[in-house]
Structure formats: structure tokens, C-alpha cells
Amino acid sequence: MRSARLLRRFGLVLVPAVLIAAAGVSLSGASFERADAAFCNGAEPSSLDPQQGTGMPETRLVRALYEGLVVSDPRTGMPIPGMAESWSTSADGLTWTFRIRAGSRWTDGAEVTAHDFAFAWERLLDPRTGAQYADLLFVVRGARAWAEDVGEDGAPTRTFASNVAITALDARTFVVGLEHPVDHFLALAVAAPLVPVSRHALEAARARWPDRWQVEWTKPEHSVTNGPFRLVERRINDRIRLAKHEGYWDADEVAFRTLDVLASEHLATNLNFYLTGEVAYLDEVPVSAIPRLRGREDYRPAPYLGSSFFRVNVAKPPLDDVRVRRALALAIDRQEIADKITKAGELPSFSLVPKLFAGWTGAELRRSGSLADDLDEARQLLTEAGYGPTRPLPPIELHFASQATNKDVCEVIADFWRKELGITARLRNQEWKVYLDAQRRLEYDISRSSWIADFADPATFLEVFAPGADNSRTGWSDARYGDLLERARRAREPERFAILAEAEALLLTELPILPVYTFTVTSLVDPRLGGFHANPLDDHCPKFWYWKPDAELAESRAGNDPAIREVESHGPREGLLSPAEQRRRASR
């Protein structure tokens, strides 16, 4: 009994002691001095391995940590030299030769060579890496066949070098052979998964941790990168601290010495971070805040290479009748949705591919003018299809994943169809993964969907609905559409755009999708943040960012439209420029 009495006396003391210890542990070594700048990156990146990245959070980090053959110009968005100082294409457009810049180093001091690129691109194609964007390189001769010819153990059966036209002739020459000429290959080469990784560092990691290299080699203490910044510390769901990589070839042009990337998904919290100066840039604001942000100098909504539409299950009556699909496509008040639901000035869209590419006109849903006329045609189409008061259209189910705006858009459309066409539309929300699974199995009538461009070219949108494509999930497979895409792949400009436009026209007459609007990015950017320019891919490399000193801020505000409301900036008044820029301004 003795110990029982002891325990009884200590019972009361035991509980608080344990908890205090836990508190002490967590707060030790948690504090940081402030970085030169910080930005909200949305969700925690699923991986810092560039080849395994999937979404925007991963892409933004790759932009800071790595640099590919080419990067996009912050102002124009056109590809400019990155690790490749120059490049040339063969007469038949099938072979691209890149000249790798000398003197640019990995963070462990080693020189960046063409071998690193060859190694990285092989890794991307190799199914064992588990890269989702491997198909970016299927334009390379032999790449697709090699990647898909897989043995029992999941490894490619044939050797890479002898089958795929990707070779590093020497340390500074990198040659790529294509299946067919690709004019937009440079737009492709900008994609994040195509950046190099340090071959020697990764092979050393594989040797050192045979079973844990996946987890170890991207850790800050072992990470080897070649971009403008290097990895200092990573705290999951909190922040990733970056610092300037002095060995980077253009280090002189980089302004920020330290940069924080915050991981926080809650939009209202991100807005609060911005308003209290914790972050300089935010890529999305809560919809409810938009009306109050309009007209502010730091609120810069910009159209974005993303298209929002509904997938239609063409196999399921009554949606198997194209007239019904066309009626539904016509009976959507897109302007109302853009103004009152998404509120960010989204452009109503009557096509799949956003009209944001130079020289691209594409096709549009055939309409007869005003919304009222479209509604009349819609009703007329329904009667043609044999539906009317006597034989009402069976109820249609609007299927969506449970993000807020999805729900609101579906509610508005369901309400509109009920009022205008007398269709009973029911709403069915599902948790994200269940929604994807339901889409894949065509267990839906109409499903709210969207597609973001992988690279700056219309083909990325149109290829989604090619016959047999994994991502189509509409049950629509049209040989004519497939032929058009095949011809476009082989064509050169300007015929290519024309063929793709013809394909889109076919898509918009068969209507496996009901286009709604083009995405708009609702970013908030601190007025002092320089080197930040809107572009269709919302692709911003922090290399070009800097803090504008007072003089420059006043000058840029002078150019603003007087109606724009000025807001308090949280950046340093004296500004922060790259060493090169300081010298240039001093000499002027």
C-alpha cells in the first residue's frame, strides 16, 4: 500500500509537470529574426524534389531554389536565358542544342553541367521516380516508349541513353531530339519539373542512405540546389527559410538576402498576415474581402491560364443528346456569376482555352447574341429533344467538391436552370478525393471542374479531352478530335494554331464540357515590392524582387490612375536593391 499512498500524493503533481515539459520543449529554439521578405505559398509543398512536384506551392519553391535551361521574363513572360546562355535549333526543328553557362555552381560548390540536366530529365521520365509531369517530355524522340516499356519491377526494360534523344555531349552542351518539331518547346522548357538536380549529390545520397535517401536528400542540411536561393530551414506547415545562394551566376542581381515562404491554407489568416505586414505578397484573398479590396493599389486581379467549366457525362441520358448539352451550355448567366459569386472580375468564357496566348483566337460556343436569345434557343432545343411540360427533363445532379466557391456557383446555376428552363437540378457535394474518384468512374451527371495550364500553350488544355486521355473523365471519345490533335502536334506555326482552333470548335459543338469562366488570380502585392509583374501563368521568380525606396515608390504611384486608393506599405522605407542595381542607380 505504501507506493499507492506515494502515487496518490504525486498524482496531483504528475499531470502539470508532464505538460510543462512539453511546452518548454516546443518553444525552445523556435524564434527567428525577421527575413528581408516573406510570402504566402498556400499549402505545405508535398515535396522539394523538383521532379516530384505537382501543384503551385511546389512550383514556387522550385522557382526560388532551382533554375532550368530558360526562365520566363518577369515583365513579358517570354522565355529568357537561364542555365543555358544560348541555344539553337536544327533546320527541321527536330534538334535543340543548348549551351550551358559556365561558372554557375550548386550550393555545394560543384559546377552545374549538362550531365545534371540529362540526369534530371531521365529521372523525370523514369516511372520509379513517381513524377506526375513525366509526360511533359513525351515530345522527345523515344521518351514515351522508353518510359512506358516497364518490366515486372516497374523499372524501364531498356537503357535510357540508347533509346531517348537526350544527351549531354560534354559538360556545357546539352542536345535534345524531338519526335516532331515543337515551336513552343522553350515554353515547355520553363516548366518547373524540367530543372536540373545535382547528379553527384543525389547519387551520394542514394549510397549513404540506401533506404531513406528520399527523405534525407531534400533536408536543409543535405539539400543541393542551383537557383538564386538555397534552403536554410524547413518547418512543416509553418515556414521555409531561404537565403541568397552566392554561387548562383546572377547572384549580383538578387536583392533579398533572406526570404521566408509561409505555409498556411486559411485565406482569412493569409489576408491578416498581409495586412499586418508579415508577408509582402499573397496569391489569393477570401472572396468575401474582394468588394472591400477593389480600387486599392495593392489589389491586382489578373486573368490566369486556368479555365473553369463543367464536365458532362456524355454517356448518361438525357445528357447523351448534344441538343440537351447545348441547351445547358447556353443557359448559364456567366456575367452574373463573375460579378456576384467569384467577384474578381473573371472573364466569362465560351471556350475551353483562355484567350491569353499571343496570336491565339481559338473557337467559341456558337451563340445568337444576348442571354435572352440564348435562353430562347435553349428552350427550343429542349423541345426539339422531346422534353417539355408533358415530358419534363429528368432531374440533373450538379456534382462538386466542397470548396466554398464551387458550392455557390452550383447553387446559382441550379437556381437559374430551375427558373429559366424548369429543370430540377439537385446539388451533391463530395469530399475532394471521393469527388475525383466519382469523376473517374463517370458516376455523375454534371461535375464542376477546372484545368490549369502546365505550360504556356493552348495544347495543354485541348490534349486533356483527347480520346483515351486519362484526364478526360467525360466519357467523350471522338476520333475526328484525336486526328486534329495529331495533325496539330506535327504542324508548325501558324498552321498549328489554326488546326488547334478547329479542334476547339469541334469540342464546343460536341460539348462534353460547359465552359463558364476564365480564372483570375486575386493577388495582393505590397506597393513597395518591385520586380513583381502580373503574367498569365502567375509565375513569379523571387530572383527579380526588391524593395522600392521612397523615391521610386512615389514615382510609380504618380503613374497610377487617381481613383486608385493608396495603402500603407510595410516594406523598408529605404528600400532594398540588388548590389548590381545599387551600382547602376549610384552611377546614374
Binding site: N272, A289, S402, D415, E431
Partner: protein, 349 residues
């Protein structure tokens, strides 16, 4: 002789002690705040049941606007025209009530006294219709935690030993099941046979949703009751009853439960709010009630988004919070009143 009869009558009256339940009811009626609370709750229940009858705008009628409409003082505009009977698929009874309402009020409806949300839906109407879901959820979960939780805790506490261990470890296990997975699993299973279930036994997703919540809410009650019973277990009257041959079920029903009633009632009035919020948490994850139906929890989630430093649509928060708050306050006051009324020691001074 008459005087003697009066005296005797008076003393008899004083002696004739009413049954404890009747005395409790009188006690409750005498305790004014508790009685007011009871009346308020009854009013809310009736209002929620006969919501289709009230001249409220439709809870889901959209009037798309840029910013939510602020509340209007009722005296400035009381009743307006323009009622459209827009509802989700209602039960037959509700349909009849809506028809009756249109017969009485025609197309009149109340003005936006509590303002509207950003999609122009009337907040007052959504609160009243939302109360249907929330009170149903509250009721079911309370019932589950009463029936299952109290008995489970009482038996575990009383019997002790191996039985207690097993029962309590099951509670621990249930506690730590990853409830999100279980909820997703249940919802997807139901979704799988959606049509058949709805057709055969009318069990559609919403009722499964209530059951899921009920599944999680008796656990804490069981633990709290067990704690109390452990205290009671060694008291003399339990030993005496056991001596008189009382078996556990009888002990639980007659001796333990009335003694544990105080804590149980208090705990019930405390757990209802967290049940409502659990429902909103599930709706937030897309696992809850189906759009366009509405519940207080959902309104609270929308309301919370409205608090941002740029501008405060305060009514979107205050409305649902006031509705939930007043019901919970009434429950607490009623709970205390019940606790005192049912307390055999005659409600200490």
C-alpha cells in the same frame, strides 16, 4: 368540532407529500427563470417545427448582390411582397404547411430584419430553417449520450473489476478512432447505395449524418458518469441495496441514476453546443448536410469568415451566435432549475 377538522385537514395537507416528480414540477414552476427558459425552448421548438408556416422569405432564394445587406429596423419595413416558395425537397407535411402559409399570407413575407448574406439569402429565415437541422442533431446526440452513455458509465462504475476495464477500454478505443475517416467511410458507403436506401427505408444521407454524430457523443458522458458512480459506489445506501439482493440493473435504475442526475443534466446542457459545432465542422469538410440545406453550424462558419479587419458584416456572426447562444443559455438555466428541483435535499438554501 369544525375547528378540529380544519386543524386535522391542515396538518394532513402538510403531511401529504406529493410524489417527487410532481414536487419537482411545482418546484420548477416556482423557479421563475427556469420556467421562462422552458417556455422559450418550447417556443423555439414550435417555431422550428412550423417554420414553413411562418411568413418568412425562402431560406435559399438567391438575390445576388455584391455585399451582404445590413439588417433593417423592423419598424421601417415590416412586411413586403415577393415571396417565392423555393425550398429543397420537403417532406409531405412541410409541403402542406407551405401551401397553408401561401393561403394565409399570399406572397407576403417579412423584410430582411436580420439582413442577408452575400448571396442575398434572408438571414432570419436561414436561422429559423437552420434550427431544424441543428435541433434535430442536438436531440439525437443528446438521446444517444443519455441512453447509451449514462447506462454504460453507470454499469462500468458500479460493477468495477474486469467489466469496468473492458467497458472503459472500449470507450478509449472509440475515442481515438479517427472520426474523420469513420465519417467519410459512412458517408461514402451510404452514397454508394443512395437510391436504394432512400427508396427502401427512407434513410438518406442526413439521418446517417445524425447517427454518426450520435456515435461520438456518448463517450464523454460515460466517462463522467463512471467518475461520479465510483464516488457513490462506496456509500451505504448502495451497500444496503446490494445486501437486500438488488441486482445491478435495478441498482442502476433506482439508486444510481437519480443520484447522478445532477451532473448528467449539467453535462447534457454542455455537450449540445459542441454537437452543433461538430456538425458545422463536418459540413465545412463537405461531409455534413447537403447543400442547399442550412444549419446553425454552417451559418457560424460563414459568419466567422465575415469577421475580417477590412470590414465587419457583424450580423452574419451575431445572428447565428445569438440564436445558438440563447438556446444554450436557456438549456443551462433549465438544466440548473431541473438539477435543483430534482435534488432530493430540497435545493440547498
Amino acid at each position: 368540532m369544525k375547528r378540529q377538522r380544519d386543524d386535522a385537514a391542515r396538518i394532513d395537507a402538510a403531511l401529504a407529500s406529493p410524489s417527487p416528480w410532481r414536487r419537482a414540477w411545482e418546484d420548477l414552476r416556482a423557479n421563475r427563470p427556469a420556467f421562462v427558459a422552458l417556455a422559450f425552448l418550447a417556443l423555439v421548438a414550435i417555431g422550428s417545427l412550423f417554420a414553413p408556416l411562418l411568413p418568412l422569405p425562402s431560406p435559399i432564394a438567391l438575390d445576388l448582390r455584391d455585399e451582404p445587406l445590413a439588417p433593417i429596423a423592423p419598424w421601417t419595413s415590416f412586411i413586403v411582397h415577393g415571396f417565392e416558395p423555393e425550398y429543397w425537397n420537403l417532406s409531405a407535411v412541410d409541403e402542406a404547411l407551405v401551401a397553408l402559409r401561401r393561403a394565409i399570407f399570399g406572397d407576403l413575407q417579412t423584410a430582411a430584419w436580420l439582413g442577408t448574406d452575400s448571396k442575398g439569402r434572408d438571414l432570419l429565415s436561414r436561422i429559423v430553417w437552420g434550427s431544424r437541422t441543428s435541433l434535430a442533431v442536438g436531440m439525437l446526440a443528446t438521446l444517444t449520450s443519455l441512453l447509451v452513455g449514462v447506462t454504460w458509465g453507470a454499469v462500468a462504475g458500479l460493477v468495477g473489476g474486469r467489466v469496468d476495464q473492458i467497458l472503459m477500454r472500449i470507450v478509449d478505443a472509440l475515442y481515438s478512432l479517427p472520426f474523420i475517416f469513420v465519417v467519410i467511410f459512412l458517408i461514402t458507403v451510404i452514397d454508394g447505395w443512395r437510391e436504394e436506401l432512400a427508396a427502401t427505408i427512407g434513410l438518406e444521407r442526413e439521418s446517417i449524418f445524425y447517427v454518426t454524430i450520435g456515435l461520438f457523443y456518448w463517450l464523454t458522458m460515460a466517462r463522467v458518469v463512471r467518475g461520479q458512480v465510483l464516488q457513490l459506489k462506496n456509500s451505504e445506501f448502495i451497500a444496503a441495496a446490494r445486501l437486500a439482493g438488488a441486482r445491478t440493473p435495478w441498482l442502476v435504475r433506482v439508486h444510481v441514476l437519480p443520484n447522478v442526475l445532477g451532473i448528467v443534466i449539467v453535462y447534457l446542457t454542455l455537450s449540445i453546443p459542441s454537437i452543433l459545432l461538430f456538425e458545422s465542422f463536418l459540413s465545412f469538410l463537405g461531409l455534413g448536410i447537403e447543400a442547399p440545406k442550412v444549419s446553425w453550424g454552417l451559418l457560424a462558419v460563414d459568419g466567422a469568415d465575415a469577421i475580417n479587419p477590412l470590414g465587419l458584416d457583424w450580423w452574419l456572426v451575431i445572428g447565428p451566435a445569438a440564436a445558438m447562444g440563447s438556446v444554450l443559455l436557456a438549456l443551462n438555466v433549465l438544466g440548473d432549475g431541473l438539477r435543483d428541483a430534482l435534488d432530493p435535499k430540497g435545493g440547498r438554501g
